[in-house]
Symmetry: C2
């Protein structure tokens, strides 16, 4: 099926998922919405996260996507269930794929979760891991300084290195063998996180795993795109097109990105009130 895969995020973090979809399924077309103007979602009240996410979903559903990926852990924790019940296309979040990958690679069953305040408070990873395997021990850590570093294009700076080192202190020395980057922004800090945790700790990026699950579900339904034409991706941002372009070009290694401004306030029909 040649329809696009919709990818939504609070900002640029979901690009880590989009990049993996492009790498693992180069025929697929992506329509991406980054709500950069209202990022970060992590510290926001649930009702706001819900409203903003349903606006993004509504905007893409009008454009006939075949599948929706909520490429934001905070939004996944709040509205995955509701969107699955509301939409008649498959909706995939980033929490279950990351959790499942951690269950696959852990040997000592001690898993660490790094996430935003919202994601950590929701206990979504703990719930998902324990639902599948009660014997898993989980350590959670909220890292509220990470998203602003990424959104301000600071993720390779000396400041980033210092912030990462200080933030991770509470979970070092706890014998974790697996760390889940429970926020799609964090893979941009991935090398610093891996360095800080040491080479023996497996660092799971939800992006790679979510892309694999998207592929699983498209393939299972016979919906993979058979077209060999170069896919025409579209990127929408609620904020500055130039900052979005700078980060997206750097991360995706694509020069001629088509980036459009969108006002989401006109796309409220999924809110139903």
């Amino acid at each position: 099926m040649e329809h696009a895969i919709g990818v939504i995020d609070s900002g640029v973090g979901g690009l880590t998922v989009a990049k993996e979809i492009m790498r693992q399924m180069p025929n697929e077309i992506i329509y991406y919405v980054g709500d950069t103007a209202r990022c970060p979602y992590g510290p926001r009240p649930e009702e706001e996260v819900r409203r903003f996410t349903l606006q993004m979903a509504g905007f893409l559903v009008e454009r006939q996507i075949k599948m929706l990926v909520i490429a934001c852990n905070t939004a996944t924790a709040v509205v995955l269930k509701e969107l699955r019940e509301t939409l008649d296309i498959p909706v995939v979040g980033v929490i279950a794929p990351g959790a499942r990958a951690a269950l696959k690679v852990t040997e000592n069953r001690k898993i660490g979760i790094l996430g935003t305040i919202g994601t950590i408070k929701s206990q979504a990873y703990v719930h998902e891991l324990k639902m599948i395997n009660q014997q898993i021990e989980v350590e959670q850590l909220a890292c509220p300084k990470f998203v602003p570093l990424v959104e301000s294009f600071e993720y390779q700076s000396a400041v980033a290195k210092k912030v990462v080192a200080e933030t991770l202190i509470p979970i070092k020395g706890k014998g974790l063998d697996t760390i889940v980057l429970g926020c799609t922004h964090y893979p941009l800090l991935g090398p610093l996180i891996q360095q800080e945790m040491g080479p023996k700790v497996k660092v799971i990026s939800s992006g790679e795993e979510t892309a694999q699950e998207v592929s699983t579900i498209l393939d299972f339904n016979g919906w993979l795109n058979p077209s060999l034409a170069v896919p025409k991706h579209r990127f929408f941002t609620t904020g500055s097109q130039s900052i979005f372009r700078r980060i997206a070009s750097d991360w995706l290694q694509i020069d001629d990105l088509h980036i459009e401004f969108v006002n989401l306030r006109n796309h409220e029909y999924l809110l139903g009130n």
Copy 2:
């Protein structure tokens, strides 16, 4: 849902998939059928592979499984499509998960496939890989000596080491960065294969990946087993219960396995002729 996951294979190879399902989803119950008496399937004509596989599937469907895993590459290549169309439960094979994992981990896009004569001739991996990414280069190698080594409990012997080394000669030095064990028996030879290919080559076991996709599909449908009772697995073999027990106990590290003999010739209703 407390119903079992059905797992079928030509013999003991599918235990590599069953083991991963147990490890990644310890709440799930497994009903396993190994057609040990008629193993290997690899060199058999398609019509035989089809008939034997439909017998196994029919036997398990009568026992109300919620999902069927064809844990045999040869059988997947021949009957996955037909079983998906016939049964009203999800049917998962081992080829797509292995292919998808290879697409995820390869960096130089050069992937090797080891399989039985039947699997290699079917071009099923080549088709799956190229459908998703046309730029992948694939080298295939039939390894007909591997399954007999495993079924005869010879997989840790000096003979096995020699056979593996000799068999892999044609694909060494071709610059592959990823090898898919395209037969569920091969993970039992996994350490020898890894040693022979060297530490830089990523060796993909379909078992791990298939278990993750089973989890994806159960979770997506809300069918994961919420029961915390110790799952009562059942193992059926068409051949010697004692040889099956010996290999299964060694591989699964479970002592008190419940192994039953089954005559599949009474379970032909899926054959429809």
